[in-house]
């Protein structure tokens, strides 16, 4: 069966249950929005979906095959955009994007070499930069970019190499309204081509027909007391 789904997922961080018994399903062309208050596990769920962390219970299935069976095949099919931008200040805008495109295989699995300059992958990179409005800044070091421009460079990653599944964690953070419009258009085009999207966001992305998972509904029974769970300083980064 085509699609991306998970059953009975549970996530435990520092001996605390973030959510349990969570099911989701996205079919080709579909979208799923994760909502819930801060700390309810939106990012944790996206990291489980991306295969960065493994679920404490449950199973994630991609096109009928459990992801844990062949993770690399699944990795080649998806894009993950996390909280952090993964942009290297010392490299230029184009070099940053070219690296990620090459890491994810590129369209024809080629890197930038003298013999294939101007062929597919470079065209894809130019198009992606143009799409997020960074083409005029392509040869500037990424340290010159503003927070919003850095975020746009991060989002250009998902346009530079095609993948059917996009996992976006708060994609609109730091973006201005025009960039958000562009993101909406990209998402609509992606879905029209049969792509799937899972996003955690508080800003409407123009996907009204999307299914929604409210993570607050999957929280454990016991209320978490503020400041009670902080023996591990790392938990604050990605609740």
């Amino acid at each position: 069966m085509d699609g991306f789904e998970g059953t009975g997922l549970a996530c435990i961080r520092s001996d605390r249950i973030v959510f349990a018994g969570l099911d989701f399903a996205v079919s080709p062309g579909g979208a799923l929005i994760l909502s819930g208050p801060n700390g309810s596990g939106k990012s944790s769920l996206l990291r489980l979906m991306a295969g960065i962390a493994s679920p404490a219970a449950g199973e994630i299935v991609w096109n009928g095959m459990p992801v844990s069976k062949d993770p690399e095949r699944f990795f080649a099919q998806m894009h993950y955009v996390g909280h952090r931008d993964a942009v290297k200040a010392a490299l230029t805008v184009r070099e940053n994007l070219a690296f990620h495109a090459a890491l994810r295989g590129g369209r024809a699995g080629r890197t930038e070499t003298k013999s294939n300059i101007g062929t597919d992958i470079n065209g894809d990179i130019d198009r992606a930069l143009d799409n997020v409005g960074l083409a005029p800044l392509a040869d500037l070091p990424a340290r010159m970019l503003s927070a919003g421009q850095t975020r746009r460079l991060t989002l250009a990653r998902i346009l530079a190499t095609p993948a059917p599944l996009w996992l976006l964690d708060e994609p609109t953070i730091a973006l201005d309204y025009r960039a958000v419009d562009r993101l909406r258009a990209a998402i609509a085009a992606h879905r029209a081509g049969g792509g799937m999207i899972v996003a955690s966001t508080n800003v409407p992305l123009g996907i009204d027909d999307a299914a929604t998972i409210d993570l607050a509904a999957h929280a454990p029974e016991v209320d978490v007391v503020w400041g009670d769970d902080s023996d591990d300083p790392d938990t604050g980064n990605s609740p």
Binding site: R47, A50, G51, I52, A53, S54, E72, R73, F75, A76, M78, Y80, G82, H83, R84, D85, A86, V87, K88, A90, L91, E95, A98, F99, H100, A102, L103, R104, G105, G106, G109, R110, T111, D234
Partner: protein, 221 residues
């Protein structure tokens, strides 16, 4: 393989743009070795006798300076998560980081070592073996150091932990590396020591990238 070369290229490029990091290692190597003649006295015979040991110990300590940031930057800015979910085996990603580390740290140390050899009045006939043993030894140090860096990633005081993890493991490199140079100076062939270093390199090539991959996956989680 595409991602492998992209990563080697990216890390080397970053190292070349931020040259101060690489230079720090080399400057430490030269300065630390240059302190020995002041400490033990400028007695040529004594210096020549100690030269192989001084070279190896200072090269090792200099290399230690570079490991704490091998994975740390990628860990901090979120690149590590993306490396973990790249569609290529994670050991290959780890190996690419190690190759880039050797190119930007091991290779400069290798190039600088004959200069320090001259300064320490190293026996002229031993330079060939010194370079060969250094090439093997620095590669092993990069592999073992990367494993230590991956294991200590995300912990506080990772620098101290790193030294505790890595330095005991590279003692064999020190023994056989300095031993190879000593053997040549003493008029023997250094084949045995070089073969052992080669064997160690092979073993590390098998174990370290794989161990790095496991540790990186845990650190990203």
């Amino acid at each position: 393989m595409n991602g492998f070369f992209a990563l080697v290229g990216r890390d080397t490029r970053i190292a070349l743009r931020q040259l101060s990091d690489t230079m720090m290692v080399i400057v430490f190597f030269v300065i630390a070795a240059a302190l020995f003649p002041f400490g033990v006295g400028p007695e040529p015979n004594l210096l020549a006798r100690m030269a192989p040991g001084i070279l190896w110990v200072t090269a090792l300590l200099a290399a230690m300076l570079s490991f704490d940031r091998l994975f740390q930057n990628d860990y901090d800015d979120g690149t590590l998560e993306l490396l973990v979910i790249a569609p290529q085996p994670l050991w290959m990603t780890a190996l690419a980081k190690i190759v880039a580390h050797w190119l930007t740290t091991g290779l400069p140390l290798l190039v600088a070592s004959p200069v320090i050899g001259i300064m320490l009045i190293l026996e002229p006939s031993s330079y060939g073996v010194l370079m060969l043993a250094m090439a093997l030894g620095t590669a092993i140090i990069s592999l073992v150091g990367a494993l230590g860096a991956a294991l200590s990633l995300g912990s506080r005081r990772s620098g101290v932990l790193l030294s505790l993890l890595v330095l005991p493991l590279v003692i064999p490199v020190l023994i056989f590396g300095a031993g190879a140079v000593d053997a040549v100076i003493g008029g023997f062939a250094a084949t045995q020591q070089l073969l052992i270093l080669g064997g160690l390199l092979m073993a590390c090539l098998v174990v370290c990238p794989w161990g790095c991959a496991v540790a990186l996956r845990l650190a990203a989680e």
